[in-house]
């Protein structure tokens, strides 16, 4: 058996079968058990090394050939596989506690396997095509049955589709640069094409307008999953570009471009979040800000090491999951996610309100919460290079913080004396409490996450490890 069969083809096949059962609990249970097995296999089973059990020997080969090209998953990729599939377990399991559509699990599993395929395909530029297929599969996930597709969904489809030609074509030009690295004109053209491709793919300023739109009109749970999954895979895909092409990695303008794009995303996202009254859109802006922080983390570590970037991984998935989960519960019970409509929420939905606010504050980088250590490291890194840049970043974070304060104010404000209560179900209590406690634990003991991401640098061969 080969690793791509185990981590790509089997989940994709299972995703197809998971459309058949009508019972969501069965679907969620099967998906969770299967992704748990994949996570444990990624954690424990070495690739390209024979395992002997008595007389029986088992070896997981790293490569799978398809139509003249190869899918390759090596031992170095195991930690990323474990993180991707491990995170998916939490998304799939928590879908049981709210009324998310049944299709989220099979489609989510299929999207995950396609995106893993995107990270493993050789030549790696073909990843753009696999990402586009995942985008197409996301459409039914993000559309609301019975409603016309919203502008956010249409823009998501357009922008993600436009990314593919840019990346594929830049791949062809990159071969020319390899042959003739001294051709500065060609290098400039390639850089522009790659930049445009990734700007569309990662929704870099100004191509991020679809994120808040989508976060407002679609299921917050589906949006959270898609935004987390796509941005994670896109960033790793982008890093593989930097890893392979020394001229791109050593380019003096790379750091400036990454920092500028990151700051623009943080500042604009933060300022727009500060004036935002729709909680769904706020989550969208938070994702934009987080993507900006990712770019900053990469710019800080591209010539030294990317530890700060890897540190962002766990707090982000946790905060986003908690935020999306809380919003989904609210969306099931309230007609809109507008703050004016949710006054006094802390009295009736205390755990949902706490989870939502804490997730927001964790992504702001509040002390004691999960996002603080990684954000602090970025602030320090940026401050050592440019103080004005740090001030701009803090302005952006302040915008999201103001939104969190406004949310708290609205949640605790009640017009009349209303009794305290908790309308969450037992399962919702369970997931919300686990999320809240974990956000605090990771904030207090960030070194615990080291075990999960310490092997991630092995994916890249040329970055300093």
């Amino acid at each position: 058996m080969s690793a791509p069969v185990l981590w790509i083809f089997l989940p994709f096949l299972l995703a197809g079968f998971l459309f058949l059962p009508r019972n969501q609990k069965v679907v969620a249970l099967v998906a969770c058990v299967f992704t748990l097995i994949l996570t444990l296999a990624a954690w424990l089973v070495p690739i390209d090394t024979a395992l002997n059990f008595g007389n029986w020997s088992f070896k997981l080969s790293s490569s799978f050939e398809i139509l003249g090209r190869r899918l390759i998953l090596t031992s170095a990729d195991r930690s990323l596989l474990a993180l991707i599939y491990g995170s998916s377990i939490f998304w799939f399991a928590s879908s049981l506690a709210n009324k998310t559509p049944r299709r989220i699990i099979p489609l989510g599993l299929a999207i995950t396997s396609l995106l893993v395929a995107a990270l493993s395909v050789e030549p790696f530029l073909y990843a753009a095509l696999l990402i586009e297929m995942a985008v197409l599969l996301s459409v039914p996930l993000l559309s609301t049955p019975g409603k016309k597709p919203g502008k956010g969904l249409i823009r998501f489809l357009i922008f993600q589709t436009l990314a593919m030609p840019f990346i594929l074509f830049s791949g062809w030009l990159l071969a020319g640069v390899d042959a003739n690295p001294g051709d500065l004109g060609l290098v400039q053209q390639v850089t522009i094409l790659i930049g445009l491709g990734f700007s569309f793919l990662l929704a870099v300023f100004p191509f991020y307008s679809w994120i808040p739109m989508l976060a407002e009109e679609a299921s917050p749970f589906a949006v959270g999953f898609i935004l987390w999954m796509f941005s994670t895979v896109t960033i790793f895909f982008g890093l593989s570009f930097l890893d392979r092409y020394t001229w791109l990695r050593d380019s003096p303008s790379l750091g400036i471009i990454l920092i500028s794009a990151g700051i623009l995303m943080i500042v604009t996202g933060g300022l727009l979040a500060a004036f935002q009254r729709n909680l769904g859109r706020t989550m969208g802006y938070a994702v934009i800000i987080e993507n900006g922080f990712s770019l900053l983390a990469i710019s800080l570590g591209v010539k030294s090491d990317l530890s700060i970037f890897y540190m962002l991984f766990i707090p982000r998935v946790l905060s986003l999951l908690l935020w999306a989960f809380a919003l989904t519960i609210l969306k099931e019970n309230y007609s809109t996610l507008n703050l004016d409509n949710l006054k006094g929420l802390a009295h009736t939905w205390p755990f949902v309100a706490s989870g939502l606010v804490l997730a927001n504050l964790a992504l702001v980088g509040m002390p004691l919460l999960a996002g603080f250590p990684s954000h602090l490291a970025i602030w320090e890194g940026v401050a050592s290079r440019s103080l004005p840049a740090l001030i701009w970043i803090l302005v952006g974070s302040l915008g999201l913080f103001i939104n969190a304060l406004r949310t708290i104010f609205n949640f605790v404000t009640v017009n009349e004396e209303s009794p305290w209560g908790s309308r969450e179900t037992i399962l919702q209590h369970f997931f919300l409490i686990i999320g809240i406690v974990t956000i605090f634990l990771i904030g207090l003991f960030p070194q615990w996450t080291l075990l999960l991401w310490s092997n991630l640098p092995a994916i890249f061969t040329h970055f300093v490890q």
């Binding site: 095509l129 586009e132 297929m133 197409l136 409603k147 016309k148 249409i154 489809l157 062809w172």
Partner: protein
């Protein structure tokens, strides 16, 4: 003779892409798209084996069939374009600008890429027309037509530089996926369970 046929393919692509921009009737849209794929087939087969280029043609026609069937099944809402401007004169004017701009661009691009003028111009023209389509519409069917047109233009150019079977297969899947997405958009208003 082949060179003349390339120019005829360019003309066909020009007429069909402008037609896609002007005609709001879905039947015209699907028909013009089908003819457009014929010209794409011809231009692609100058670099690819006919069998592989034919796969592109078949995929394109399958996309047309999917969109046509979806339109037939969809409830005719009769919605009009919400955005300004909607006039036919404006569309002809902007299409003219795209034709002129892509002609100017293709003069340099054909030298740079080492490809024939009809091929480069057709590719850039389709990309330009597709982008224009996306810029002036918010209707899902028109958006899908625009995306398919952009991809068609890109595929002509990409076929000249990449002849991998896997890429051809994945691009075909993407084309079909876009058509299915369009069909989904058109029928999504019906109850999920029905």
């Amino acid at each position: 003779m082949i060179s003349v046929l390339n120019w005829i393919a360019l003309l066909a692509a020009m007429v069909t892409s402008i037609g896609l921009l002007l005609h709001q009737n879905w039947r015209w849209g699907v028909g013009l798209l089908a003819v457009q794929y014929l010209s794409i087939f011809w231009l692609v087969q100058t670099h690819w084996p006919v069998s592989m280029a034919a796969a592109k043609l078949v995929t394109g026609w399958m996309a047309c069939v999917i969109l046509g069937m979806a339109n037939m099944n969809a409830e005719t809402s009769g919605d009009t374009e919400a955005s300004w401007p909607q006039g036919r004169l404006f569309r002809i004017f902007t299409a003219g600008i795209i034709v002129a701009a892509t002609f100017a661009l293709s003069l340099r691009a054909s030298n740079w890429l080492g490809l024939g003028m009809p091929l480069t111009w057709t590719s850039l023209l389709l990309i330009g027309m597709g982008l224009l389509q996306l810029g002036i519409t918010s209707r899902s069917f028109r958006v899908i037509l625009g995306l398919l047109t952009i991809l068609a233009g890109f595929e002509i150019l990409y076929a000249a530089v990449e002849s991998s079977v896997l890429v051809a297969a994945l691009l075909s899947i993407v084309n079909l996926g876009l058509a299915l997405t369009g069909a989904y958009f058109m029928n999504v208003t019906q109850d999920e369970n029905s």
